[in-house]
């Protein structure tokens, strides 16, 4: 029934697209960064476009600034929500400017000129950094402003996101502007920051002014009395291809300009982050409150839209949970999502299997070749070993300009990670295979190829397979990172869960991934025993 509705909706959308989208060659790819507000804005863009008859593909939670903007620049995606301050500081690498108008003018001109990327008029709210404390603690210390904070900071522990600690418009600039010196600064990820503050592990954190968590934990936001934080106006960032091929869609997106104020945005974020409502439903409500989706598309439209989002390959990750509450056992939650988990698991397995197969077909012959020409072997193997030291997320980021987003860069990265263990084991396995037997085989008249095929390879097979097994297990873990560049798999719920601070969602990806690693290891263990020649101890 639900499936039928999805098909119906997709058909309607397709028909409408033929009329409205006039020559639309491919779906409009809507992306977002991996945090709740970005998901929500991206989903609103998507639903608004769909309501106007465009066919949309969602890549919500695609990745942080470098990845999302990189994808936009390459036209791998068409639109995502961005903040003017981020554009100025993180993308253009320019100095902070305090007037919002100046910032917007600057990024608009510069992005258009450099990349043909267009900032639509801002959505109407700012989401700037906010330095927050627990209400009771702030009252106890008598703190209202950041200048007040500077007086007592040496006695306080701060917990900031790594991003904030490194950015010029974050901690380094803040320290200079206020003469702040904390007793200690810990690097905390977004999802654990609020928890750490609530439990008194840290006294001060960085948040966002429209953050739903601020209301949830009733935190005090200290006033930026020296106007240090630059303006972060939210706006739709539109790629060159969309402007060229579907100017109508760009026009539709401007309907949201100036419509969302801070108060409304905080309330919407709270519904997602605190109440745990589904992103598509909250987005539908927001659009209908704003009168952007027509009357008669009330609650029913919301459900249909949520269904449509679920039908899309990536949309599933935007759903926060089956029920409104965060209660209920984890097992029930996992059971309810079993079909989705199975789909993600199969996709995960496919990513691992394809990359591993490619790695085996190159690393095994290369290992054999290096064994024949031992001179440069160690150097080659060491260079390939260096790949192993590149952090997964960095390798994926390097792939972006070459291969865009999606499956291709993920496969390429997983392939590169698989090479080393297989190559190393093939080389040493074949090199060290029973030297006496090899010497005798040669002395009795085997050709080098026969020695390889009949003696070295069979004797090295268990070692080679152990290398393949290592690579496979590492790959199952690394493949969860593929979700950051939109390749899908069990990383999807992990990334979305991290962004939405939803532990159960994280576990719905992490537990199957761990089990998958165990199963892959066990199966390859059996294969390893099977290829081990008889007669060996």
């Amino acid at each position: 029934m639900k499936a039928r509705r999805r098909i119906l909706l997709a058909t309607l959308a397709a028909i409408a697209a033929i009329g409205a989208g006039a020559g639309q060659s491919r779906p409009i790819v809507v992306a977002s960064k991996p945090f709740a507000e970005s998901y929500l804005l991206g989903e609103m863009f998507a639903q608004l476009l769909e309501a106007r008859g465009f066919v949309v593909e969602r890549r919500l939670g695609l990745g942080a600034t470098e990845i999302a903007f990189g994808a936009l620049r390459e036209d791998a995606i068409d639109v995502y929500p961005e903040y003017t301050g981020t554009g100025l500081l993180a993308i253009l690498n320019e100095r902070p400017v305090s007037d919002p108008r100046d910032v917007f003018d600057r990024v608009q001109r510069e992005f258009e000129y450099r990349w043909g990327v267009r900032w639509l008029p801002p959505l109407g709210f700012q989401n700037t950094y906010a330095i927050a404390m627990r209400q009771d603690r702030a009252r106890e210390l008598g703190l209202r402003t950041l200048s007040d904070l500077a007086r007592v900071a040496p006695r306080l522990q701060a917990g900031f996101t790594p991003d904030f600690i490194g950015r010029e418009d974050g901690l380094p600039g803040l320290k200079r502007a206020y003469g702040l010196e904390f007793g200690g600064v810990r690097s905390l990820l977004q999802p654990v920051k609020y928890q750490a503050l609530a439990e008194g592990e840290v006294d001060v954190i960085d948040g966002y002014s429209t953050d739903g968590q601020i209301a949830r934990y009733s935190l005090t936001v200290l006033d930026d009395d020296r106007r240090f934080f630059p303006p972060y106006e939210a706006a739709a960032l539109v790629g060159a291809r969309l402007q060229r091929e579907a100017p109508g869609a760009v026009l539709v997106l401007t309907e949201l300009s100036g419509r969302l104020d801070e108060e409304r945005m905080r309330r919407l974020n709270e519904r997602v982050e605190v109440a745990g409502e589904e992103v598509p439903r909250v987005a539908t409500d927001a659009l209908s409150e704003l009168g952007l989706v027509g009357a008669g598309r009330g609650a029913e439209a919301g459900a249909a839209s949520a269904g449509a989002a679920g039908a899309d390959a990536r949309g599933g990750s935007a759903r926060v949970g089956e029920s409104e509450s965060n209660e209920g056992s984890l097992i029930a939650y996992l059971w309810n999502r079993r079909a989705e988990i199975l789909r993600l698991t199969l996709r995960h397995l496919l990513l691992v299997a394809l990359s591993l197969a490619a790695a085996v077909t190159t690393a095994v012959p290369l290992g054999l070749l290096l064994e024949r020409a031992r001179g440069g072997a160690e150097t080659v193997i060491r260079v390939i070993g260096l790949l192993q030291t590149i952090p997964g997320i960095a390798l994926l980021a390097f792939m972006l300009p070459l291969l865009g987003i999606g499956v291709a860069p993920a496969l390429a990265a997983l392939y590169l990670y698989s090479l080393y263990p297989i190559l190393r084991n093939t080389f040493t396995g074949v090199r060290d295979a029973s030297p006496d037997a090899v010497a005798a085989a040669r002395a009795l008249g085997m050709t080098p190829l026969q020695v390889l095929r009949l003696v070295r390879l069979p004797l090295a097979a268990p070692v080679i397979l152990a290398g393949i097994r290592t690579a496979a297990v590492i790959n199952v873990g690394t493949a969860t990172l593929a979700a950051f560049i939109g390749a899908g798999g069990l990383g999807d719920p992990i990334v979305a869960g991290l962004a939405l601070a939803d532990t159960r969602m994280i576990l719905s990806g992490a537990i199957p991934a761990a089990l998958l690693a165990l199963v892959v290891d066990a199966v390859l263990g059996l294969v390893e025993r099977a290829v081990k020649p008889g007669g060996l101890a």
Binding site: S434, A440, R442, L444, G445, G535
Partner: protein, 236 residues
């Protein structure tokens, strides 16, 4: 023949002959060049200068792979392929040569070395004792009935009793088959016992080549004399 390696001269102007159907022992300490000399006969080693003839034919002109298939070889440790059963190991050379009925040749070779095919053919090398393993290695070297066999300290790693048994078996077998044998050993006793002629090597040179009995009776150099005395073979 001469053969130089980067650091040392392994063979320094060596010349010798083995009569067909006879056994010559190459005796010397490790590093004397005896194994290098042996390996020139199946082109595992190529001499820098000089010629090797097998059955009156220059080996330089022969394909080394084909040459090795026609020359039997027994290494010290047996060199059995651990992932092949005894039968498959012994069938190796007949199969490489594409001979008919390798299984039959293997069985015959096993019985020559005193191993019943029924009991031993299906075993893995690791299921054999050291002596049995060397017997299989000798069977493997002889299965295709080569006219020449090279043995590189074939009994070196065995205990005294097993060694004596195997020496006896090999001696009988060699005479029965009339195979030409080149035997590397560091044991002068073994050389005198098994070989018709003995060549003593030292630092890449031949010290003396003589009939086994003559060598013990009249050593040509001090080195050989010392060797004979140490082995307790000299005249009282």
């Amino acid at each position: 023949m001469t053969k130089r390696y980067a650091a040392a001269t392994a063979l320094d102007g060596v010349s010798l002959e083995v009569e067909a159907g006879r056994c010559l022992a190459l005796v010397g300490e490790s590093g004397s060049g005896k194994t290098t000399l042996l390996r020139c006969f199946n082109r595992l080693v190529e001499p820098d200068s000089g010629e090797v003839e097998v059955n009156g034919e220059h080996v330089r002109g022969r394909d080394p792979i084909s040459l090795r298939r026609h020359v039997g070889y027994v290494p010290q440790d047996g060199g059995l392929l651990p992932h092949w059963r005894v039968r498959r190991n012994v069938e190796l050379v007949p199969r490489l040569l594409g001979l008919e009925n390798p299984a039959g040749l293997a069985e015959a070779a096993l019985s020559l070395v005193g191993l019943e095919a029924d009991r031993f053919a299906g075993r893995w090398p690791r299921e054999l004792s050291g002596g049995q393993r060397q017997r299989v290695a000798i069977a493997r070297a002889l299965a295709a009935r080569p006219s020449v066999v090279l043995l590189d300290e074939p009994f070196g790693a065995l205990d005294a009793i097993t060694r004596a048994e195997l020496q006896e078996a090999f001696d009988g077998l060699r005479r029965e088959l009339g195979v030409t044998a080149l035997l590397v050993t560091h044991d002068l006793h073994e050389a005198v016992r098994l070989a018709d002629r003995v060549a003593v090597m030292r630092a890449g040179r031949l010290e003396q080549v003589a009939e086994a009995r003559a060598l013990a009776a009249s050593p040509a150099t001090d080195y050989v004399r010392r060797l004979v005395r140490t082995a307790g073979l000299g005249a009282p």
